[in-house]
């Protein structure tokens, strides 16, 4: 907690990881990442030689101007996309050559996503939405899913709205549902892309407090993209990007 105002970039990220103790294995390690988007007319270098290590229990903010590659970085961290070059390791394992199936399993077990626009399924009730990640967990029965979903909703303070549909909720409530969905699977890391971007400052504050609580009390590692300096200051570390490169 004393570390609350630390904003320096972790320059040790590029240290070789020769035989560290299990606890010290970074949750995520990106090495020499380059991401180039090729369209018929232009080639966009979204990320250029990015090296970044996310340690267990950290709450990292990612900041930078629009279009500098923050969302791209998050989708690479979340194994939703592949880098043009460079490697990604999750819990010390390189995922570069993993199959679609293996990547999906890692996303399901270890990663929770929170998006600026919530991405709830409008045709499913709140509790059904929270259950979605658990549907893809082999061998989990309906009862267990429901139990976990309700527990996650309890954690975000939405126990009273489990039967509602997303359209019946406020923006802040929707984002809580999305956080509950990210939590339901018991992830090691939550990747949040501008989770408060669509919310007013009061609701944004609530969501921020929720994330801080998850990080401090439950030890969930969080990487959050934000445009809000004030929010970023509350996290342990801020990584700044400009035009596809880390700048501090």
């Amino acid at each position: 907690m004393e570390n609350l105002l630390a904003t320096s970039t972790d320059t040790r990220a590029q240290l070789p990881l020769n035989g560290p103790a299990a606890e010290e294995t970074p949750v995520l390690q990106l090495t020499n990442i380059e991401k180039v988007y090729q369209t018929s007319t232009i080639e966009t270098v979204a990320l250029n030689r990015v090296n970044l290590t996310i340690n267990r229990g950290e709450f990292v903010s990612i900041m930078g101007p629009s279009g500098c590659g923050k969302s791209t970085l998050l989708s690479l961290m979340g194994l939703l996309d592949e880098p043009t070059s460079g490697t990604i390791a999750v819990d010390g394992r390189l995922v570069t050559s993993f199959s679609d199936r293996e990547l999906a399993a890692i996303r399901n077990l270890k990663i929770g996503f929170v998006f600026q626009s919530y991405h709830l399924i409008n045709d499913l009730s709140v509790v059904d939405n929270v259950e979605v990640p658990l549907l893809y967990r082999p061998g989990m029965g309906g009862k267990e899913r429901r139990k976990r979903a309700l527990a996650a909703l309890d954690k975000v303070g939405l126990s009273a709205r489990t039967g509602h549909f997303p359209s019946q909720l406020s923006g802040g409530q929707r984002q809580r549902v999305a956080i509950a969905r990210a939590l339901a699977g018991g992830p090691e890391i939550i990747l949040a892309d501008e989770p408060t971007g669509n919310l007013d400052s009061v609701m944004g504050e609530e969501i921020m407090d929720l994330l801080l609580g998850l990080n401090r009390q439950d030890g969930v590692t969080i990487v959050m993209v934000t445009h809000d300096e004030h929010q970023a200051l509350k996290t342990q570390r801020v990584v700044r990007f400009f035009d596809g490169s880390q700048v501090g």
Partner: protein, 399 residues
Amino acid sequence: MVRHLFRLIWNRKRSNVLLLSEIFFSFVVLFGVATLLFNFGRNYVQPFGFRHDNVWRLTIGARQGEKMPRPQLDDVLRQVRALPGVQEITLTSFNTPFRFSTMNGDFARGSKKARGVDRYDADDRYGPLFGLKLREGRWFNASDDAATRPLAVISQDTREALFGAGETAVGKLIRSDDQFGGDAPKEYQVVGVADKVRMSGDFASATPSVWMRLAPHDTTSWESATVLVRVASGQGAPLQQRIVHTVAGLTRQWSTQVYALETDRLDKLKPTLAPLVALAVVGIFLVVNVALGLFGVLWYNISQRRAEIGLRRAVGATGAGIGRQFLGEVLVLTTLGVLAGSLLAVQFPLLGAFEIEPQVYLMAMLMATGLIYVLAAGCAWQPSRLAAGIQPAAALREE
């Protein structure tokens, strides 16, 4: 996952109603077409119950306003019979096989009724000429001249309608029961039971029939007569000429025309096949329409649900899993549509509609079900693959 699909489909019921009703209607149309096809096919492979090859139909007509005395007609029959190449000859009513005219009536015996029975006038040579197979009793013969009552041979299906299984039919009386009040009810004594016959054409089913013996040497006069001739195989125009000449040689007042029964059969085929072909074309058109509709709706659904697909991928679905989900949704919908359609279709055999056998309906239902599943899976295949191939990062970026 199946429960999840049901919940998703239920919550999306408004947009799924269209798809569901398309599946329902295409099932019903396919069921109808399949029923007709199976029924026609089933009839087609049944035996006719009589031999129509090498049989010619002679229509002999008197001059306007004049009549043909029976003795003179008998003379004509004798002369034609004597021609080389002619094997058998019979005098009958106008409703010969494959013609568009029929003579219908009901027959009764006690409380039992046979409705819509085809009635034919027949003499002693009719049965042998057509090779009718007698299951009981015999065909008419000269000994019947002494009979005091009108005589009849009935077909097996008429027998089933009028007699119990263990009962003997031969020697019993049946009553013509003309509701239209044409003739007074008349009793006929059964002398024989023949196999079922299908005289209305290739795709027609067997019809209960009764052949009523034409009394010989009667005093009635005819305005026109229909005579059937069995000829040796390979006979053609020369024999037809000789028949026409023979009739003309006896009396200049009468005219004769000769047709082959085979021609009559083909003539009957055309108007029967035309609606079948039309129906099949309509059916194919509908199925193609439904296929395009299914395809379009699915395609639209998937483009509408890109964000959902991206999210599902993010939380652990594989590409193949997404494809399976979309395919699964279509198959669940198809099952619902087919169930609803089957509920309607099963009423037909239950109510015994259209006198079509239940097996035909059941086969048609199976066929329609199979086709709908193939259709639905076929239409869902490409869109599902498209869904499976959607890049999650790109899909989540869009809003």
